[in-house]
């Protein structure tokens, strides 16, 4: 187990290297550069060239990559061109919010999705199941942006249960923090819930056709024990993989949620950075998010064995 973990972590190094190169190329191949955004519509071409030089953008790209990468391996992600603040500092300041948001969203969606997936599977092809399918279809197709605004209109403006703006980190004041996080994590989790519920339903149906489920019934178990013990544990393994993949999507979806709810997360920062071609910021943040995603995948793989003992490391 420990050896497996170590192996996986060591294997992350070449992956990260590749990600670093790809991120660099991607970011540098989109047209426009940070200098042009910084000077806005206001500068003379000479001034633009000057800014370019001061940012080192006049260097050939391989040189820029080597310079950047040389710093990255020593743990220095550089400074954001936009804010002048070290990228790593910004990540440390902003990522916890995104992490809390996505994790709460994930917990919420699993808490909502797994039971509804199980119920839908139990009542398959009945009115209840069709209703569920409809709701989950809505869940995947409603734009997160719209959903967030609607949630704000109803729960914050009409009912006044939650604030519509502002933020307190949950680790500073858990209760106030949770109030600010509730709507965002629910709206963010809703999309994932729809996906996870559908996955749960279909893998439950898959599993329930198998002989061991009939066997469990033939033992004299109640239908609920059959569903929740025998079927669900097996059906949860593929669902877990989906959750892992979806977590990656949540990191992306967080951008919209963070914008609508004004949360100071990393997603919003990255998008701003992309728009302003803030190379060091984009590269550093994406590299970091890739790393997080790799760890999430590792966690999923480790957890998977708990649900499917047939897996070998």
């Amino acid at each position: 187990m420990l050896a497996y973990l170590l192996k996986r972590i060591v294997l992350m190094v070449p992956t990260l290297l590749l990600v670093a190169l790809m991120v660099f190329l991607l970011v540098h191949f989109i047209p426009g550069d940070p200098a042009i955004v910084m000077v806005g519509g206001d500068a003379t071409p000479e001034a633009l060239e000057q800014v370019r030089r001061s940012l080192g953008l006049d260097q050939p790209q391989p040189v820029q990559f080597v310079t950047w990468f040389g710093h990255v391996v020593t743990g220095d992600l550089g400074r954001s061109i936009g804010t002048g603040i070290p990228v790593f500092e910004t990540i440390c300041e902003r990522f916890p919010t995104t992490f809390v948001l996505t994790t709460l969203a994930m917990l919420f969606s699993v808490a909502l999705a797994v039971p509804s997936g199980v119920l839908a599977a139990k009542f398959r092809n009945t009115g209840k199941d069709y209703l569920f399918m409809l709701v989950s279809l809505l869940g995947v197709s409603l734009p997160g942006f719209w959903l967030g605004l609607m949630a704000l209109l109803v729960f914050s403006v009409q009912l006044g249960w939650f604030p519509s703006s502002g933020y307190v980190p949950i680790w500073q004041d858990p209760i106030a923090g949770l109030r600010y996080m509730t709507l965002p994590s629910i709206t963010l989790g809703f999309f994932m819930a729809a996906v996870v519920a559908r996955m749960t339903r279909s893998s439950m149906l898959e599993v329930m056709r198998l002989e061991y489920v009939t066997h469990a019934r033939a033992k004299g178990l109640t239908e609920w024990s059959v569903l929740l013990k025998h079927a669900l544990k097996n059906a949860f393994a593929p669902t877990l993989t989906t959750i892992g993949i979806q977590y990656g999507m949540l990191l992306g979806g967080a951008v919209v949620t963070e914008t609508v709810f004004g949360l100071p997360g990393l997603g919003r920062f990255v998008v701003t950075a992309i728009y302003s071609r803030d190379y060091p910021a984009v590269q550093g943040c994406i590299l970091f998010i890739a790393l997080v995603y790799m760890f999430v995948n590792l966690a999923v793989d480790v957890l998977y064995k708990a649900f499917d003992p047939r897996v070998k490391y």
Partner: protein, 330 residues
């Protein structure tokens, strides 16, 4: 004294989009106490559904639409769902064909055996565990204590089926439904597993409804044989009657396909079953006459128009075939 199981005009239909599939068109037979009854027939003729009907576990969209099932004189069709649960696994248990998929891969052997005990008996986990280990020993599973903590995938197919047998017989049921329990196993272990099952069942006085299409097995263990075709019982009798005096052309076809078996009174050339030509008819669209008629080498006037009832050929022997009308009427 009541028979352990009495199936009386059972009808189980599947309501599918393409129509009603009469998986069990109509089936009646009995199993006496401690008796081993083998149910034989080609694939798809309703053997498994008969067993599942007894447990009232016919899968969706199937439903028992008629008939009665009597267990020790009690009509199971009148039981509530919770009364049925008390029957399952305790008075009637079942072994499935595929030991690879009939044990839950996500739980240890021990977990599944202890669960089986504790559903029906108010005993502690330790007590249930001991009982399970003792049972594993009875089915000759090597190192039973260690196996308790193993997952199904860590066991061979034969060992897994022993575990299934152990579980099925844990609570000394009156009836064991064994649905092709050795078909999926290696030929070399089939006999051992079968032997273990029969012995353990005899020890606990459990009757067995054994579904198989291995007639060699039937000849070895069966007290009585029920031959099914297209959702009906076409012939039943003692093992001796079936093997020595098969009355239905279908039964004869089956026997002819087994080279190592005595052929009874027909001395025609040995030929495999499929050479009877044709396939099992569609259960959604059964012909009006005898279902076997289109494939029957001996079909004559009434066969394609009227369905033959069961004609008694003796106190224990009956066949549903117009060939035996006179015989029965005599």
């Amino acid at each position: 004294m009541y028979p352990v199981l009495k199936i009386d005009n059972l009808q189980t239909h599947f309501h599918t989009r393409t129509g009603v599939a009469k998986a069990i068109d109509v089936v009646s037979f009995e199993i006496g106490k401690g008796e081993i009854v083998c149910v034989v027939g080609e694939s798809g003729c309703g053997k498994s559904m008969t067993a599942l009907s007894v447990l009232r576990l016919v899968p969706h969209p199937g439903r028992i639409v008629g008939g009665e099932i009597w267990l020790d004189g009690e009509n199971l069709m009148a039981f509530s769902e919770s009364e049925m649960r008390a029957v399952r696994g305790d008075r009637v248990s079942m072994i499935f064909q595929e030991p690879m998929v009939s044990l839950n891969p996500a739980f240890t052997i021990g977990n599944q055996l202890i669960e089986a005990v504790r559903i029906h008996r108010r005993v502690s986990r330790t007590e249930a565990r001991e009982r399970a280990i003792a049972m594993l020993r009875r089915v000759e599973l090597p190192a039973p204590e260690a196996r308790m903590d193993a997952y199904p995938h860590e066991l061979s197919g034969g060992m897994r089926q022993r575990v299934m047998i152990a579980e099925a017989l844990l609570l000394d049921p009156a009836l064991l439904l064994a649905d092709e329990p050795t078909t999926a196993l290696d030929v070399t272990v089939q006999a051992q597993v079968l032997e273990v099952m029969v012995r353990a069942a005899r020890e606990s006085g459990t009757a067995i409804m054994m579904i198989t299409h291995n007639l060699a097995v039937v000849s070895e263990i069966a007290d009585r044989v029920v031959v099914m075709y297209a959702g009906r019982v076409v012939e039943q009798g003692t093992a001796e009657e079936i093997f020595t005096r098969p009355a239905h052309p279908y039964t004869r076809g089956l026997l002819r396909a087994i080279p190592s078996l005595p052929l009874g009174d027909d001395d025609g050339p040995r030929q495999p079953l499929y050479e009877m030509g044709g396939l099992v008819p569609s259960l959604t669209d059964l012909p009006p006459g005898c279902a076997f008629c289109p494939r029957c080498p001996e079909a004559f006037a009434p066969c394609d128009r009227e369905r033959p009832p069961g004609f008694a050929l003796g106190s224990t022997h009956a066949a549903a075939c117009w060939l035996h009308r006179q015989e029965a009427e005599r």
